[in-house]
């Protein structure tokens, strides 16, 4: 198993596997970066609601594509469906919060669980239809890079790269809005538009990552790297960079590990690698970690 792992890790396990690894890494980088802004804006849990709400959209897109005569497996199509229902989920959270007296956390919980439940109903409806193709959809729950097509890997890589590029381009205004929206508004920044842009980018990276880590755990790749990075530095630019590296690294390593042995589902393995990085950061990190006082003493002395 070690052999397989090392091969996959160094991109020597075949062209397909290498593409998958690169695609996953692009996703991890973008997710880590997006997560930095997301956690600063305190919108981590909303993204979880969106992620769970993608499930009905994935199945409906599958059905639509099959109805149009296709195989129903084209990843861009599935991602589009996912994006639509996830967007609707976000709107539902906002509507519940704004128009009723329910607090936001209840709205999030409701959309998350009901969206997922509806997705499961649709999934079981499809199960009776074309069992073989449906097997591909099950992989969206917890991620499954096994048997991922070249085209899929490319889609994920492009999606991740595009989101990362936009995030880097918008990093300064996004950072300002994240740290002090009032001040940013005074400076003339379009705070509302930037918030919407951030959620749109989070939506994009969420649907990109569905194939890799799945609906249930994509929030982990958004949040864990960003939280880990905060233990090393307080400077916004560096947090983003570090979060991207941790996210990318976790995806790369996790995908290799998952390919190395049986019974290692991709999503959970990637999440556990990221979590390990977090534990290390918590213990060793100079900015806030448990060892932080030691670092400070060392710097002073």
């Amino acid at each position: 198993m070690m052999e397989l792992f090392l091969q996959a890790l160094t991109l020597r396990a075949g062209y397909n596997a290498a593409l998958v690894a690169l695609g996953a890494t692009a996703f991890g980088l973008a997710a880590g970066l997006a997560g930095t802004f997301l956690t600063l804006r305190r919108r981590a849990l909303v993204s979880d609601a969106m992620a769970h709400a993608t499930l009905p959209g994935v199945v409906l897109a599958f059905l639509a594509m099959v109805a149009l005569g296709g195989e129903g497996r084209a990843l861009p199509g599935l991602m589009a469906g996912a994006a639509i229902t996830a967007g609707l989920g976000l709107l539902a959270v906002d509507a519940l919060t704004a128009r009723t007296r329910l607090p936001e956390d209840a709205a999030i919980g409701a959309v998350l669980s009901v969206g997922f439940g509806l997705g499961i109903v649709l999934l079981t409806a499809v199960q009776g239809m074309q069992a073989g193709q449906q097997a591909g959809l099950q992989g969206f729950l917890l991620g499954s890079t096994a048997g991922m097509l070249r085209a899929d890997a490319l889609t994920v890589a492009l999606g991740g790269g595009a989101v990362a590029a936009v995030l880097v381009a918008l990093r300064r205004p996004l950072t300002m809005v994240a740290f002090d929206p009032g001040h940013a508004a005074m400076l003339g920044l379009p705070v509302r538009a930037l918030d919407l842009a951030l959620m749109a980018l989070v939506l994009a990276i969420t649907v990109t990552g569905l194939r890799i880590v799945g609906v249930v755990l994509v929030v982990a790749l958004l949040v864990i790297p960003a939280v880990a990075a905060r233990f090393w530095t307080d400077r916004a630019g560096r947090v983003g960079l570090l979060a991207a590296l941790i996210g990318g690294g976790a995806a790369w390593t996790g995908v290799a590990l998952s390919a190395a042995g049986p019974d290692l589902p991709t999503g959970p393995v990637v999440v556990l690698v990221a979590a390990a990085a977090l534990v290390l950061s918590f213990v060793l990190g100079p900015a806030r970690g448990v060892a932080a006082p030691l670092w400070r003493r060392g710097a002073a002395g």
Partner: protein, 305 residues
């Protein structure tokens, strides 16, 4: 409904689903009012590794060891969340997301690696329960309800869930005053000498017990729907807590029964034969009821909290 098949195949799942929904709705009322709905979310995810470890030790997905494992896992989650918030100054939502997703991932890997999936507890169960399979082979008709021999063959989940729901209801009644006071006026609760922190922890533990109960029926994620939707629906219909709790029980029951029936028999009405996920349908119905209340509920807008 006079058909023995109903008693064999449908009655136990309907009862189990209903009891699970009620078990979650009860603490869910207080979580909602304390703006701690995400505790239900976190606990539902976090109990998975606890359940798996207990399952590996005892071979059962319900029972006292499993309860212990679940509560231990939930308390571990609370601890880890607090550690992140205190030492890392991580904001609460992110801290919860980190802990519960990591623990859930650990639970899934444990299931896969330990081969538990081959026996009884697989990942599919964790995600969507297996309500449909909790059937009563030994039943021959309604008469079996008073037949001790047949009753011995009842799926274990049913009496255990009934006990869990009863215990949760009892605890709620027993601790009603401190619960209500600490929820609506924490300062006064402290002044009156109530251990507010402990009450909060107790509520999380109760949520863990409910989550395990629901897990047996509908899996982890749909349990969240049961924590949130019936109490939220009730909240949009009344200002009075007692009424809210009763209504939440009613909506939980409605969602469970209607959900199960729609999932099992709905497709037949359209000429299809594939049964749908009962758990998913229960969550969907609960969501539908909530949506209706959000649109026409008499108390949907005013807020005194």
């Amino acid at each position: 409904m006079t058909d023995p098949a109903f008693v064999q195949l449908s009655l136990p799942p309907i009862l189990i689903g209903t009891l699970a929904a009620i078990a979650c709705a009860l603490p869910g009322n207080f979580l909602l009012l304390r703006r701690q709905a995400m505790v239900g979310d976190a606990v539902s995810h976090a109990v998975l590794p606890g359940i798996v470890v207990a399952f590996l030790l005892t071979g059962q997905a319900t029972g006292p060891v499993v309860l212990f494992g679940a509560v231990a896992a939930a308390l571990l989650a609370v601890l880890l969340i607090e550690a992140l918030r205190r030492f890392g100054r991580v904001e609460p939502g992110a801290a919860m997301a980190v802990v519960f997703s990591t623990m859930f991932a650990a639970g899934v890997v444990l299931i896969e690696q330990s081969g538990a999936g081959a026996v009884h507890l697989d990942v599919e169960h964790a995600l969507m329960g297996n309500l449909e399979s909790l059937i009563w082979f030994d039943a021959t008709g309604w008469g079996s309800l008073v037949d001790p021999v047949a009753l011995a063959g009842l799926p274990l989940e049913l009496p255990r869930l009934a006990l869990a729901a009863a215990v949760l209801a009892g605890l709620m009644l027993l601790f009603w005053r401190p619960l209500v006071l600490s929820t609506f006026d924490e300062t006064q609760a402290r002044a009156a000498g109530w251990p507010v922190g402990l009450i909060g922890l107790g509520l999380a533990a109760a949520a863990a017990v409910a989550a395990v109960a629901a897990f047996a029926a509908v899996g982890a994620i749909i349990a969240i729907a049961m924590f949130v939707c019936p109490p939220a629906t009730a909240r949009l219909l009344t200002d009075r807590l007692r009424t809210q709790v009763w209504l939440s029980v009613g909506f939980a029951t409605l969602a469970a029964v209607a959900g199960y029936v729609l999932a099992g028999h709905g497709p037949g009405w359209f000429g299809a034969s594939q049964a749908l996920s009962a758990a998913g349908m229960i969550a969907t119905v609960a969501g539908g009821i909530l949506a209706a209340a959000a649109i026409i509920g008499p108390r949907r807008r005013q807020s005194f909290i």
